[in-house]
């Protein structure tokens, strides 16, 4: 079939773009992610909350001086393991007195952040289940619908994609799962895990 003249115009574009996008879809690495059911199973507390306080402090441990950051959430939707109005967690790292301590990949928080949190109560450098995978952003779209994104801001299409290979590039917010739907899936998973 002959190629129309108008289509011929785009031939110089199609070939290199095809090469780039095929290369971009190559799987970057393999790993054992935390699945959604593992996330629910390992979490001792699950809630939706707003960050209301972020407070770095220094602490002496043995011969070390470490910096931690205490993050306080106002709990707007206690899903599992809590009936409190606030939940408080400590994370290794922070800035105080002109000195910073950083841990690569550690989640960071700002007052006003809204999050879905899957956490453990036992003390550790980071109480979030799966390090960052159990921390999800909540953002309101232009239509006033709350939607769920990963900790780094990638839209969450469904709970099954938590911890799954990230294809890269962020899609539109409207492609993210609605918070109400996500909450329903969490409740279902809790029931299946007999945690509720």
């Amino acid at each position: 079939m002959p190629i129309p003249d108008k289509m011929r115009l785009f031939i110089p574009a199609i070939v290199p773009l095809g090469l780039v996008f095929s290369a971009a879809s190559v799987r970057a690495t393999t790993y054992a992610p935390v699945t959604f059911s593992e996330l629910v199973d390992r979490a001792e507390v699950i809630f939706v909350g707003d960050v209301v306080d972020v407070r770095p402090y220094t602490m002496r441990v043995r011969d070390n001086t470490i910096i931690k950051t205490r993050v306080t959430f106002s709990v707007s939707d206690p899903i599992f393991g809590t009936t409190s109005l606030v939940e408080v967690f400590d994370f290794l790292g922070g800035e105080t007195g002109g000195v910073g301590m950083a841990v690569a990949g550690m989640p960071t928080f700002a007052i006003g952040d809204r999050r879905v949190v899957f956490a453990r109560r036992d003390r550790s450098i980071n109480p979030i289940v799966g390090f960052t995978q159990g921390l999800l952003q909540v953002r309101r779209d232009d239509n006033g619908v709350d939607r769920v994104l990963t900790e780094k801001g990638a839209p969450l299409v469904g709970p099954e994609s938590i911890g799954a290979f990230r294809r890269g590039g962020y899609a539109a917010l409207s492609s993210s799962m609605r918070l109400a739907d996500f909450r329903g899936r969490v409740a279902q998973a809790l029931a299946e895990a007999h945690k509720k």
Partner: protein
């Protein structure tokens, strides 16, 4: 003909945008230019022979440092060994150690290794970086795809994890955490990639500049400097 050139131009712009969006992820902190970053290797000797024949853990991590040195400009790694020195933070020593915890706190869920860095807030200059490998995992040293231990658990390759952690020491973050799809040792999960990738090299080059042939240690092998007293 003119329209065709317009299409080619738009294509090039798109290509540039795609490439720009799919690149390394700097943390935003770095060592002072010219610094020799001395890592104190303290992991000692394994209980059994390693798969790749390395006689001890410190030579594995020293090799990872040397690998980074082949692509570094502006700063370089050096290594010293002292398995008896007590690791601490802050102590002006960049400790590379096994750990059951991270200075008193347990590792988080699923953490294989961690780099803890100290920096000055006013200019984001790194002043100390300790690398702690989680002792609870099964470790070895080998090339190629990830392997499993005889009990079915993951057999973690120290060399590739060390390459990753030393990338954090230099100031690189996880590109896959920022929505990128790239082949990189710096991606957040250990996998079949066992050596530095172009994206990793581009990352450190963006921070410290390109490596100069005379600065690289490729032909010199691991460089241990005499033990520096604490």
């Amino acid at each position: 003909m003119r329209a065709r050139w317009v299409v080619v131009g738009i294509t090039c712009a798109l290509l540039f945008a795609v490439r720009s969006g799919s690149a390394y992820s700097p943390i935003g902190r770095q060592w002072t230019p010219g610094t020799g970053i001395v890592m104190q290797l303290q992991q000692g000797t394994p209980g059994a022979a390693l798969v790749d024949g390395s006689p001890d853990w410190d030579l594995v991590t020293a090799d990872a440092l040397t690998t980074w040195n082949t692509v570094l400009g502006g700063v370089s790694f050096a290594a010293t060994r002292d398995t008896a020195a007590p690791p601490a933070i802050p102590n002006d020593v960049n400790d590379v150690i096994w750990g059951d915890d991270v200075y008193g706190d347990p590792f988080g869920d699923g953490v294989v290794a961690i780099t803890v860095s100290l920096y000055r807030v006013d200019d984001n200059i790194t002043t100390e970086a300790d690398v702690i490998f989680n002792r609870k995992y099964r470790w070895d040293s080998y090339r190629g795809n990830m392997r499993r231990a005889s009990d079915g658990s993951a057999l973690v390759d120290l060399r590739r994890v060390a390459l990753h952690e030393f990338g954090h020491v230099l100031g690189l973050n996880h590109p896959d955490d920022s929505g990128q799809t790239v082949r990189a040792i710096m991606n957040s999960h250990t996998g079949d990639i066992d050596r530095l990738q172009q994206d990793d090299v581009d990352g450190v080059t963006s921070i410290y500049g390109p490596a100069k042939a005379a600065d690289t240690m490729q032909s010199r092998g691991p460089r241990f400097i005499p033990h520096r007293p604490l």
